[in-house]
Symmetry: C2
Subunit: 275 residues, 2 copies
């Protein structure tokens, strides 16, 4: 199967999608912004032998590749609009590509994320990059830099999950936090590193009271693992938190980025590709 035929097959999987001026098949996709929206952009790589193994089901790899980027959109309070997918695979991977796209497009349909285009190439190892564009009311995006001393720190669920489970991006919660949370981030690199990032950007410190764990998880994995994909957010004291979320600490005045738990200062040891 040649490139034109492959692209045509992917295009047929997205039949019936509405909302783009122009989708797959030209030099660029065309998106027409709505009145009063800010656009959010994020991109995440998913690489064989780094983020998954060749023994993993391609359908799950496709779904997970999109889910990781959608989680970033959720963290900013956005509504997903469309995605671009680049994929490089070894020769004779047509079946793999097909299953990968079925997984990805399944999640795209459930979250109303349009597939706008991308790029296909060959490489020895599988390499995927998913770019998602989301939208949020002008000036209302949730950011990392708005946490203030006295704010309460929350997470959207128990931590320390294994990286083999399915990622469910917290889109509805993120949208609900718009106009309420003072900061938000998704836990993709571990609580210790991601809360450190929020505190650094906001020039504050944090005291942790408790760390809710999933069954079988260790405190170590909850702090320094990197696969929770829950939202971490801050609310001003007295604001009611959405149902199902858990308070874990308080923002305090202190050395920017410092996190304290059980009397000691935590090292931001979450996942770092370059350490």
């Amino acid at each position: 199967m040649n490139e034109l035929a492959l692209i045509d097959r992917i295009r047929r999987m997205t039949r019936g999608q509405r909302g783009l001026v122009l989708g797959i098949g030209d030099d660029c996709a065309i998106y027409r912004p709505r009145a009063n929206e800010d656009l959010l952009f994020t991109t995440d790589q998913t690489i064989e032998d780094v983020h998954f193994l060749s023994s993993h089901a391609p359908r799950a790899v496709g779904e997970r590749s999109l889910a990781r980027s959608l989680s970033d959109i959720a963290a900013m309070g956005g509504i997903p609009r469309f995605c671009l997918v680049t994929l490089a695979v070894p020769a004779n991977y047509e079946k793999w590509i097909d299953a990968f796209y079925r997984g990805l497009i399944g999640l795209a349909k459930r979250t109303k994320t349009l597939l706008a285009g991308g790029d296909l190439a060959h490489s020895k190892k599988i390499h995927c990059d998913v770019i998602v564009c989301g939208s949020v009311q002008r000036g209302k995006a949730l950011r990392r830099d708005g946490a203030r001393p006295g704010d309460r720190v929350y997470v959207s669920g128990a931590l320390g999950k294994s990286w083999t489970r399915r990622i469910v991006p917290r889109l509805a919660l993120g949208q609900k936090l718009v106009g309420r949370a003072t900061s938000c981030i998704d836990l993709s690199d571990g609580l210790s590193l991601d809360l450190h990032r929020v505190c650094l950007a906001s020039h504050v410190a944090a005291d942790l009271d408790r760390i809710p764990l999933t069954r079988g998880a260790t405190i170590e994995r909850a702090l320094n693992g990197g696969e929770d994909y829950e939202l971490l957010f801050t609310l001003p004291r007295g604001k009611t938190a959405p149902r199902g979320t858990l308070q874990i600490g308080t923002i305090v005045v202190g050395a920017p980025g410092e996190i304290r738990f059980e009397g000691r200062t935590l090292q931001p040891l979450g996942y770092d590709h370059f350490r």
Copy 2:
């Protein structure tokens, strides 16, 4: 050097850029659309041993990675707004990353393309993906599907270039063609395949009269090579073509996608990753 320090270094290279609500350093970048603009999106992969060799200067690889995507924006008549860059490299490539970004950011500054964000990861082979967002007046993007019988076919320069030369994206020409050209594409996969794509999308055929060659190039390379990055466009008969562009043929009624040259039908043999 860890990931935070590396990202901080890249961010410093882009100091002083204006035009984004939020750039590098949060879960997403934020772009605020202007009134009456359509947004164009394109993405291109640049892979070690496929698009370049490890012996190539990283600065040139960085510039070329962005240039390829900018060429797609040019082909739609767009003004580049911002880019996202994902990069996966082996361990201890900090110097390479630095030079790569210097090359990329140099071209970004010359073309007023803001660096909005991206993703860094490790992999055995270097893998890069550059997403560019451009803008064009609402409804005015140049597309592949508007060529009509009687239109003249033009290219922006002589063909058959070697892939080692520098790519100069034809942004000014593309913007000049808005409201004038009936179709446009960039020659990234060879004249025979790219003109075939225009004719297929427009449900027309084409007769080629002449193929302007660069010094030392063969007709074979001009037809089926893939590294010209000139614009191929169609103008209604009688419309004056911009200075420096060359007429090479005419759009005709015929089997959709058929290209004739010197009495024979050309096979669309340009570069195809999956053949």
